[in-house]
């Protein structure tokens, strides 16, 4: 029995749902309401002490961290493989996934929070909001979130996140000019890990970031969207109200994002594999 604790708009949850759907594994859904701080409840902390989604519970045992969960599912349910059989290529897949975990999850927070999450948190009563920040186990991230709430994209930290995101999209463009999928010629966990990072921008109506500008990313993302598994895992799961809110908030704030992108240094285009050296 598989239960996934997740959230409809969380990209790391979407990765795991994508794998579950690609492999057609039956699973039970347990939504953790992040905007209400449900991730800090004692019941959830018992299965995930870092208070983040997703958590997969398989036959009563929790598995944490989206990337680790995806590798777990790949090994526990090998049918419909999402890892290349070629082992050197599989290593590249892991490097790509690791880069996303290390650099993009932080940049994602800084890019999305000022556009969307801060409006959700602003709905909380002052004492609920205080509790949210007090319960946050990652004090540094909590401080950054406070700054994003107060200053939006004017926070230097959020600006840096947008620029790192921008660099990442260009690296994708470079890599996707070399291979059909991010690693090799079939869909792998590298694509699964990456897709939600693009999809969440689309929910915010930020498509102009790549449409008409990054043709390989555009081609790749159309291929992703055409997959029924991705539609079930991501596109169809976001509640209508949240979808409308995100679209509206994103469209309003896009000019601010575009202004930050305009300040980016020209991309040197050397290697899609130098994220660590070049992340901002």
């Amino acid at each position: 029995m598989l239960t996934l604790y997740h959230h409809p708009a969380s990209p790391s949850s979407a990765k795991v749902r994508f794998v579950l759907q690609e492999k057609e594994i039956p699973w039970e859904s347990a939504i953790v309401d992040l905007y209400q701080g449900e991730q800090f409840s004692a019941a959830y902390l018992a299965i995930n002490e870092a208070a983040v989604v997703p958590t997969l519970v398989h036959n009563g045992r929790p598995v944490r961290e989206s990337l680790v969960i995806c590798e777990y599912l790949e090994e526990a349910f090998p049918e419909g493989p999402l890892a290349p059989a070629d082992l050197a290529l599989r290593a590249r897949m892991r490097v790509w996934c690791k880069d996303i975990e290390t650099f993009m999850s932080v940049s994602l927070a800084g890019t999305i929070f000022p556009a969307n999450d801060r409006h959700e948190l602003a709905k909380l009563a002052p004492e609920q909001l205080n509790a949210y920040f007090e319960h946050h186990p990652n004090k540094r991230l909590a401080e950054r979130k406070r700054a994003w709430m107060a200053e939006g994209y004017a926070s230097p930290d959020a600006r840096r996140a947008v620029l790192t995101y921008h660099k990442f999209l260009q690296k994708m463009e470079l890599q996707l000019g070399r291979s059909e999928w991010l690693v090799g010629d079939s869909l792998s966990l590298a694509d699964v890990e990456t897709a939600p990072y693009v999809a969440v921008l689309e929910l915010l109506q930020f498509q102009r970031w790549w449409v008409g500008r990054l043709p390989h990313v555009e081609r790749w993302y159309s291929g992703i969207k055409a997959r029924p598994a991705f539609q079930r895992a991501h596109l169809n799961i976001v509640p209508d109200q949240l979808r409308r809110d995100m679209a509206k908030r994103g469209a309003e704030i896009w000019p601010e994002v575009e202004a930050i992108i305009a300040t980016a240094e020209p991309f040197n285009g050397k290697s899609p594999w130098a994220m660590r050296a070049e992340a901002l």
Partner: protein, 268 residues
């Protein structure tokens, strides 16, 4: 044919050497002089675009990222397995291996630079020093390095590193209380290999009191790690003896300063 591009005192490279020796694989050693900036040479960047050690070259394929290299070696040379057969245990192993990379790698520099590397870098001629600084592509990292080189353990980054290291030792002790003999699962795994260089670092600096004082399980684990046949060739024989000796002598002199930082923070 396996060639490892590495550096004796790099913790990430050490982890890969441990895995190579645990599996008794023959490999060729190529030292990259990271304190002299050899990692920034174009031929090396072509192998490793992030300009870091280690890189494993296996039959002309370059494999990068120490955690990925360890899994690659276990994929290709399955015997003896260094990943738990139980897949949930394996997931815990992956979290450990990845957390060590993410949180401890920079921290390790924070405790080592003030005691030793700093003295090596300060021996460079002004031109060599400039070249060393210029080679850094990551400007934040460069600023941190400079502070560590100039201010030693009194640099705020160094004090922070000491406290994070202390919490890491506690985390290891707690994990061993839960898991038993090895960090994740019933037998030695990549997680144990990943943690080993961090204890070796303290050992070489003569900071043994740091774990022996409070952490009996960790002490016992480390004694068993040292008794494994992989330990000596991967961790000790590869170190230049003068470097080892300098590290020990210099470290002994700094331990009281480190302990003072722990006391100030209420961690001792």
């Amino acid at each position: 044919m396996l060639t490892l591009y590495h550096f004796p005192s790099s913790v990430c490279a050490a982890k890969v050497r441990l895995v190579l020796h645990e599996k008794e694989l023959p490999w060729e050693s190529r030292i990259i002089e990271i304190l002299k900036g050899e990692q920034f040479q174009p031929w090396y960047v072509a192998l490793n675009p992030n300009a870091v050690v280690p890189t494993l070259v296996h039959d002309d394929q370059a494999i990068v990222e120490s955690a990925v290299i360890c899994e690659y070696l276990d994929d290709v040379f399955a015997d003896p397995p260094l990943r738990p057969a139980d897949l949930v245990d394996r997931s815990v192993m992956r979290i450990w291996a990845s957390d060590v990379d993410t949180y401890m790698n920079g921290i390790c520099a924070g405790i080592t630079y003030p005691a030793t590397h700093r003295h090596e870098v300060l021996k460079l001629s002004p031109e060599e020093l400039q070249r060393f600084y210029d080679g850094h592509t990551d400007k934040d990292k460069l600023a941190r390095r400079k502070r560590l080189i100039e201010q030693g353990y009194q640099a705020p980054d160094a004090k922070h590193a000491v406290l994070v290291y202390d919490r890491f030792l506690t985390k290891l002790e707690d994990q061993l209380a839960k898991s038993g003999a090895w960090l994740t699962g019933k037998s030695y795994s990549i997680a144990d290999a990943a943690a080993t260089p961090y204890l070796v670092r303290l050992d070489m600096l003569n900071y043994q009191e740091w774990w022996r004082h409070f952490r009996p399980r960790l002490d016992d684990w480390y004694e068993r790690i040292k008794a494994r046949p992989s330990f000596r060739p991967a961790m000790i024989d590869v170190m230049p003896s003068k470097f080892m000796a300098d590290m020990g002598t210099r470290g002994s002199g700094y331990w009281p300063e480190v302990r003072e930082i722990l006391k100030e923070a209420g961690a001792w």
